[in-house]
Symmetry: C2
Subunit: 223 residues, 2 copies
């Protein structure tokens, strides 16, 4: 599903009804937003009603892989990837970068970067692709970790389901900058500006049963 | 829709198919997870396909309010709240608290707290309820801010749509603790434990046009 183009082609479904100036179809931007996250919100339809579940994902080229149990609802619905029609999904990733405080309540906003991917998910059945996807899922959370853990064995592979969603109908939406107050509000006595939102990691906590001789690996101090 | 009970009543749709021991219907827990967030992922069905959009929300008692423009798709679909049937939605909130690194790739996990709310959203039309909801939406992001900004005027109110989703069919899901490695993996030489995920705020950045005489308010230094 990948193309040589630098942008995804907008569709009726990926052109927003408002704030169109915030929308982007740039592949590099979309990929950077996706790669900075490891949890997405996956939406699907069950008995006619929407369901949204948080779940791990990883990107490999122009495909996203979503991890789950073979017993989970969306993965069972996605079928075996060959005979089954697949599962229509919407996969959304959001980063909040700042709280935008305007003088007026109305112009309060958030600085954010989000990606919305629409498409049909299929279960991965090829064993080589499944291995690649599982490594990517681990390395997407902690780069370098898949090489420093025991790979899945046959029993574990059988209990793991991964679905693939190709990046095809995709859009990003980004807001940056300060508040957009109306001119007549600029003299109001309210503090106005942006509060940056920061993410980060605390000090790693070893497992209770970890051999004290095992030092914290470099890929964790680098996080 | 609120009841005196301390828990929400589980339904077929809110009992997970897996990891049932992580599910909770405790109201205090659900409320604490919701109140710590201000961005949710709202799912709805458009032309038979799922759509998931990040959006601001706030809780007032046993109701959630979601903010948007009167021109936005989900808010138009929710209708006028009286004659319209409303919009079936799924509102999901997720906090990631830690990366769980097991010796085996298979047992890698996340510590998280999530809430999934199922129901039908209706547009808020009562002007008093709309004011309460708008104040709550601002104060949910920055407690105390609604009192220190210009309230919406009539024109802004007309351009703002808020939908209400009552907390009725609700579940929380929580994972805590360290990795659950298999006994035969405990001797493997891989570091194992939890990397805490931290959120926080950076130093507020004043608007370019902010009067330097306006000091940073206490509710922002307290964030």
């Amino acid at each position: 599903m990948s193309t040589a183009a630098d942008t995804y082609t907008p569709t009726d479904r990926t052109v927003p009804t408002r704030s169109r100036n915030r929308a982007s179809y740039d592949k590099a931007l979309v990929h950077s937003i996706l790669d900075e996250a490891y949890v997405c919100h996956l939406g699907f339809v069950r008995d006619g009603a929407p369901v949204v579940l948080p779940t791990l994902f990883a990107r490999v080229g122009d495909s996203l892989y979503v991890h789950g149990s073979t017993g989970s609802r969306p993965l069972r619905a996605a079928g075996d990837g060959v005979a089954a029609p697949g599962l229509p999904v919407c996969l959304t990733v959001t980063h909040v970068d700042g709280l935008v405080l305007a003088r007026s309540a109305f112009h309060h906003s958030l600085n954010y970067r989000s990606v919305v991917v629409l498409g049909t998910a299929h279960q991965v059945t090829d064993p080589v692709e499944l291995r690649i996807a599982l490594d990517a899922l681990v390395d997407h959370v902690v780069p370098g970790r898949s090489a420093d853990s025991r790979p899945a064995n046959a029993k574990e592979l059988a209990a793991t389901a991964v679905i693939r969603l190709d990046l095809d109908e995709v859009s990003a939406k980004v807001r940056t900058g300060g508040p957009n107050d109306d001119a007549e509000d600029l003299g109001l006595p309210h503090w106005s500006g942006v509060v940056p939102v920061r993410g980060g990691y605390g000090t790693p906590v070893p497992a209770d049963d970890l051999d004290p001789a095992i030092a914290l690996p470099a890929y964790l101090t680098a996080l």
